[in-house]
Symmetry: C3
Subunit: 316 residues, 3 copies
């Protein structure tokens, strides 16, 4: 096992712990995870045998190649092995097996379970039945803790700190689990949150209420008006399918689309993030600007998950 | 390579051998495999590099996530690597390739082939064409040798011995390959076999005839009447699709369903097993009783397959 | 890292290089790759840790179990790990992501990308966007460089040399990417090429033109007439779907089918190759003749890819 020397002792013991929601984590715990991610940066390049002999099972009840590959890459970089399923077709789930049984079966094959599920609360339930730690890789419309953590890590890495920034969440704030988890996580810091979306895709009420109690939140429909004040421009897809009225979609589409021309009006130090895949909400002209951080954000996801796996396995 | 010290020299040489049917194995060979499984118990926890550099290919012509993951976990715990396909969609099989050709291709990619196939005799045919050892992971309605072996291992581990027990096979004894392979395997021991099923799902005649020659077998439709005498209560799914007459299904369904209340009448030391997935033939109230061994049975599958892989590779 | 001693210094530096087309490679570079494949032969048996800690991502936009498993086996034999996707279903591609974005995401998960794509030029485009090396595993109808290289390696291994031989490419020379890549590769050697196909499946004009400039090429519809002169009989599938007129298909089918009887008229030293899967263009009676090299050809694919990976990673 490679010894990582970090500045201070862990603020809490992560070994064997489930990671179900960012809401379960204190700010100091999140800070500790981000520190561990940073410590993983060199290992992401040279590899490590920290988790040699350990097995991670991915239980993906909903397809997500990106998240699955990111976890697999993280596990592999630490010397461990990944196995599992990427969809429920062909699995015992099709034969009528419930999640609790599947968990009690698969925990025999692995040392940690990474669960993705379309239903709210599924990861929590899996964690309750599993003897081995469960990491939530997205469940229902609210929770995607590792995405929120990698977003925080990207902000900290690019801007130096999270406290003190203005962050705009832009696009579909109603259905995207990413922005919900991220809003909950940001509420643990001293940030200003600008929620920018079409009327019908406004941030869910329950998220808005909880987050508003802790930090300064503004809701608006105009990206143009707020672009100048933002340190982080967090874009998301606005999907046609969300609109009952296609005329309405055509109307709003253009105003949640970012181009390099528009970015000329943004803060020079501001960064553009996106959970990806994008369709056309970020024009390819943005890619070559210094603002574009959505591809490095993907690499940050690997080191963040390496840090989290290292912690959950008690290896760091 | 980790050296395992075992009580006595192998009763037969397994290195390079195909594992197609339990009927090919003598009792002393089965006992040796069970001993090897036991020797693998610590390695299933700490891992091993016994098969470092070795590759296992899974050729699954019929989906079975559970069996596939179990083999992959076993191979990984021994330091080896797994690759292969989980369904025939997208493979050369779709382009019209026959099994013999596929085997002669895939043997170039791996050191052992694990084959699952809907047709009787497919694993035997694969073994004939392959230069590397073939392990049958289920073929046709009759053969699933590693399941039968892990069932025996579970019985021995939980009850101390296989000889002398009364075992009830309950539910669908006609279509389930698991109970067929298990019956053949049990016939090599001194056990009493109680076959409990609806009329239309009675044990296949050819299995019944062969097994009856060797051990005491009783056929019955009543679980209730025999529950008290059983040391092993081996449940299986009774699938609605098997019944032409749904009224008939509704009638029998309840009588092959196990609850904790009913289990109160069973021997205190009796164990409940199931190849899983279950649907509702074992009530969840049974899960917390000391009888329930169907989840540990899954873990036993991993160590059993570790033992078998170790033997086939000549590594132990 | 295992040190391989080879006869002469590399004729060019492959470390970090993309392998998109055989047309990008000089003859001396190809010779060097073939030498590296040969050097890999012992490692294919005993394994190696040369690429320990390295990750290969397979991006297969078109299913090909065989090529995917061959690359995975090669990577595993060198101690590396493979991850990726085997079809676009369930991936971000379905959500509308373009290839350039997918590449810039997945390069964060791996150290080399292996790309298979139905469109001409896709691998080239992937290589342009990727920071890590890209290996083309088949793109469009023209390029399948690793297949062409393993074909050359098979010829050299079986016949001792490539220069001086007569090779017949037989069957579908119009749609098969394999024969196109192979023809380009052969044109770098001193060979005589006999193109044998039905009228409507003649070699593509652009390939024919380029290759004819460099080597002696003959086009014909008769396998029978040329069988005797060939050192390499390279068979391919003639697919029914390619024919508008089924009567036409039935007419030609028989004449591109090889049996052991017919092979009696071939050179004793001649070899039969096939990219596989075959359907019935090579009769199973050929399998047991000394001519049959299509199954060893598969194994040659693994060592060739090991050599290529070793070179691209700068490990040899």
């Amino acid at each position: 096992m490679i010894q990582l020397v970090v500045g201070m002792p862990p603020t809490s013991n992560f070994a064997g712990r489930d990671i179900v929601s960012v809401r379960d984590l204190s700010r100091s715990e999140i800070d500790h995870i981000l520190d561990m991610a940073e410590a993983m940066e060199p290992l992401a390049k040279i590899g490590s045998d920290m988790l040699h002999g350990k097995i991670m099972a991915t239980l993906f009840y909903e397809p997500s190649t990106r998240t699955k590959l990111s976890f697999e890459s993280a596990m592999t970089r630490l010397g461990g092995t990944a196995l599992g399923f990427a969809e429920t077709k062909g699995t015992s789930v099709e034969k009528g097996e419930n999640l609790a049984d599947t968990v009690r079966v698969v925990e025999n094959y692995a040392d940690v379970l990474v669960v993705r599920h379309p239903l709210e609360g599924a990861a929590r339930m899996a964690a309750e039945f599993s003897r081995v730690p469960v990491i939530n890789a997205g469940s229902g419309a609210e929770e995607h803790p590792t995405q929120a953590l990698l977003d925080l890590y990207t902000i900290k890495k690019e801007l130096g700190a999270i406290d003190g920034i203005s962050i705009g969440l832009i696009g579909d704030l109603r259905y995207g689990r990413t922005v919900h988890s991220l809003a909950y996580a940001l509420a643990k810091y001293k940030v200003r949150l600008v929620l920018i979306s079409p009327e019908i895709l406004r941030m869910r009420k329950e998220v808005l209420e909880e987050v508003s109690k802790k930090i300064d939140v503004e809701e608006t429909t105009s990206l143009q008006q707020h672009l100048k004040e933002l340190d982080v421009i967090y874009m998301t897809r606005v999907q046609k399918e969300r609109f009952g009225d296609l005329a309405e979609y055509e109307k709003v589409k253009g105003s949640y689309r970012l181009t390099s021309d528009e970015l000329a009006r943004a803060k020079k130090s501001s960064i553009v993030m996106h959970p990806l895949p994008r369709v056309d909400e970020i024009d390819s002209s943005v890619d070559s600007t210094s603002h574009a951080k959505y591809f490095p954000q993907v690499g940050n996801g690997v080191v963040l998950r390496m840090g989290l796996l290292g912690l959950v396995f008690g290896a760091i």
